[in-house]
Assembly symmetry: C2
Homo-oligomer: 197 residues x 2
Amino acid sequence: MSADLREVRVASEKVLQSGFLHVFRDRVRLPDGNLTQREYIVHPGAVMIVPLLEGEDGATRLVLERQYRYPVQQVIIEFPAGKLDQGESTLTCAQRELHEETGYTASQWARAGVLHPVVSYSTEFIEVWFARGLTLGERRLDEGEFLEVFTATPEQLYDWCRNGQVTDAKTLIGALWLQNVQSGAWMLDWQRADAFA
Amino acid sequence: MSADLREVRVASEKVLQSGFLHVFRDRVRLPDGNLTQREYIVHPGAVMIVPLLEGEDGATRLVLERQYRYPVQQVIIEFPAGKLDQGESTLTCAQRELHEETGYTASQWARAGVLHPVVSYSTEFIEVWFARGLTLGERRLDEGEFLEVFTATPEQLYDWCRNGQVTDAKTLIGALWLQNVQSGAWMLDWQRADAFA
């Protein structure tokens, strides 16, 4: 890290604590010694799952969701995702969210990487996990959660990323991972679900 | 759009208005008729630029930045980006931000697409523009803005996306676009900077 870019906390104040968003305002010392304020959301972190459904023909299909996202006033196409519960590991969260939202459980898992959706105003990180060996069970949505589950081919997903039908950042990054895993450029380290325990 | 996923605003209240973050809390009607609350940040929108620097050897290098991002307490590698000023077009903003942050002006521009960094709690969108035909001038950072400009090859960027050195969502999505433009899978419609006027 370039030491001369660092900003140092002088004071911190919670300016909004509500049901959902927790906003802090910190007083920080800039690299030139001046003081300024930084406002940001404190977020517990989240996971996203890229679920690979192997068809009888050997072709892969992806499990995706359509969900109305109120801030952007649109139905958005997304990979399954959700926030970490207190003390929960990212894999446990990924297994829980995949099952709750889509009904699927997976026999094999691989951690791809981590992303920061908005480095300028949120502490949020999202860990990206791939899942395969899917078995369909019963989904259990949270109260007040409405979403449609559907499947698509990787080629359909790439097309939607190009033509603007997919705009969700984490899902676009899922496509980046998938494309490079499919081409063999990036490797995944697959493990049986019980091997992580 | 699936009509049965839609959430309808019943009331809206600004719960935080400060120097930087504007937070709203809306009362909304869910698809099943129940009422709930949605909290979100209202953001003016932003642009990101993927600046292509053609070397004397014909090889392309990318103009990137290193910046300390206080919410994630790390120096983050990013493509140049910035928020829209009131009434500003995304191209004008892209040209302004590229020049202010890196000193470069570009003779040709192409709009790639749009992304939503956090569909669950911000109205923010980021338009992605490619720039080429770069000429170096003098950069003019905002007061209190500290960042390092550097160049890298596309292959270095892809490597950093894979190994976790790049975690910024918009920059990962810039890599998705660049990779598909380089392979010829996705096309850009390049225009001279003055052709947009």
